[in-house]
């Protein structure tokens, strides 16, 4: 039953978006279909808003290349379709009131892929960052702030500079925060957090040591450095992970049917609701997203009650 409804809604959406070469009647019909589609979508969001809306949704955008292969599209077309899907999902999250969106765009492991594919993804990223920063883009229309998480030193200079520019220019936006994980793995993120925490501890220990030395020299007193100063805590690590200022995701959605985390947000998804969709990422529509949110709303009371197993 729901498969049939999704098919109807997807068809309505596609009909409404076609640029017909027919006459006025056909254009009128298409506009009518688009209006009906929009109304149905708004009704669906109203129904969803009766229950708790997640504050933060994370996506593993899997399936772009399979999408291109099944439709016999050219190289790079799958990732372009994936970007369009990301914009649709962002629009949908904005309308539903989701405040934070995190996406897994490019893993450090993905550098193992064919160099041509890696280069085409980097070129696409450059092109799309530029597109997003234009005046009329969704980022400025909806006040979206963009973060880039990952080991950005692994990116080529143009891509890294474009990412830094995007972060700087959207820093003042406050409506939605889009975090794009590029050259990222969670284990790399944790290593970075450990390194920074160790450096911080050593620096503090050095300061205490210097102060104690002053005390001994000036007053002849003895002081012993506190052992606790060297000890790392959970809070120390959390301060140094990339997403320190962002709350943990409420839902993690992976598309294309694979059921694994692939080294994404391991630290942040300890209590997160995980959902896998068989649909490929470019096929994701607001209806799929709403469907997952319905499941999340159903699971949430139990998750809140039993956060510890």
């Amino acid at each position: 039953m729901f498969d049939f409804l999704f098919l109807v809604f997807s068809s309505l959406r596609d009909l409404g978006m076609e640029n017909g070469n027919g006459g006025n009647l056909q254009q009128l019909f298409q506009r009518l279909v688009a209006v009906i589609y929009d109304i149905l979508q708004r009704l669906f969001f109203m129904v969803l808003s009766v229950g708790p809306i997640p504050n933060h949704i994370a996506f593993i955008m899997d399936g772009n290349r399979r999408y291109a292969r099944t439709r016999k599209l050219g190289p790079g077309a799958g990732h372009k379709a994936g970007f369009s899907s990301l914009i649709r999902v962002l629009e949908c999250c904005y309308k539903m009131g989701v405040k934070y969106v995190t996406v897994y765009a490019f893993s450090i492991d993905n550098f193992k892929r064919d160099p041509c594919e890696v280069q085409s993804i980097m070129d696409l990223m450059l092109e799309k960052i530029d597109e997003l920063l234009r005046e009329e883009s969704i980022v400025n229309n909806h006040g979206i702030r963009i973060n880039f998480f990952g080991d950005l030193k692994l990116l080529s200079k143009p891509v890294r500079m474009a990412a830094e520019k995007a972060m700087a220019e959207t820093a003042k936006n406050t409506n939605v925060v889009l975090s794009v994980c590029v050259a990222y793995t969670s284990t790399n993120e944790i290593v970075h957090a450990v390194q920074e925490s160790c450096k911080e501890k050593l620096a503090r220990a050095q300061v205490i040591s210097d102060v104690n030395a002053e005390i001994r020299n000036s007053f002849g007193g003895y002081t012993k450095p506190l052992e606790e100063e060297y000890s790392i805590t959970l809070e120390d690590l959390e301060r140094h992970i990339y997403s320190a200022e962002i709350p943990d995701p409420d839902i993690l959605i992976r598309t294309s049917g694979e059921t694994r985390l692939s080294n994404f947000l391991l630290w942040q998804t300890t209590f997160c609701y995980l959902h896998v969709l068989d649909a490929l990422w470019p096929d994701i529509s607001p209806w799929w997203l709403g469907w997952v949110i319905l499941h999340y709303q159903r699971a949430k009371p139990y998750i809140d009650k039993n956060k510890a197993l």
């Binding site: 993905n110 290593v191 805590t233 690590l237 630290w267 300890t270 896998v276 998750i303």
Partner: protein
Amino acid sequence: MVSLQLPLSTINNKIFSHFNPKPASCLCRVGNRSRAFPCNKYSIFRGGEGTITTATAEEERLLPDELRPELMPKHVAVIMDGNGRWARQRNLPTSFGHRAGVRALTDLIDLCCKWGIRVLTVFAFSTENWLRPKLEVDILMSLFEMVLKEELKILMRQDVRISVIGDSKKLPKSLQKLKTEVEDTTKNNSGLQLIIAISFSGQYDIVQACKSIVEKTKDGVIQPNDITEAVIEQELETNCTKFPHPDLLIRTSGEQRISNFLLWQLAYTELAFVKSLWPDFGKADFVDALCEFQQRKRRYGGRDS
């Protein structure tokens, strides 16, 4: 806020990766055969230490037809969820659910021993579980002691090596002592390695690894910039095994989350969410989970060739 309660469980669609365990005799076997590789009655399956050994006819019969010996996971992790719900459904005290859960665990250990799985990690008690009512926590601690004592002889006969990971400082002294005894007694066993996570969480594991590392940086053994993933891995509590990364994680009771279990080690683990409650998890459910695992393509971020 009001939560929507829709009868979603009656919907049959392929959207969900909710893993629906089916009885071993039904469609799963037939369906999987049509998608899986041809079933070969191999008399070869992987033994220990990466070598291929010839199995006897009796061992061949132990592995169900649906499962390919060469695609069996080396390390299976399990979140044993649902004991409390199982007991409530039967109007029994929670302790009965935990006891029934122990039976399911011993059955699973038996299957893992027979089917050549090298490591089985079970999430017995998390750091967050200390917040449960004191009575339940005390009952669980007593249950752990009782089970370890009762099952030790059987596990020795099965050549199982037991390791207990977690913050043992919080455990009762008697359990701490028993833990050391059990680990010493079984340390020379070469069969299945059973890792029991008690008072454990993935974040705790990483924090304790970092404490060791920061001591080394303080002593000048290592510089902060020289800290790598390998350095952290060596300090994690799963360094007690040669296969620290689970190939398959099974969580029972239908809940779809990790609940702070084996955080670092689950980076590329295949996840299976089973609807059965843990005391009801049996051979059929395990076979279904392994079938599902064997059909997945693991790319580790690369591409299919």
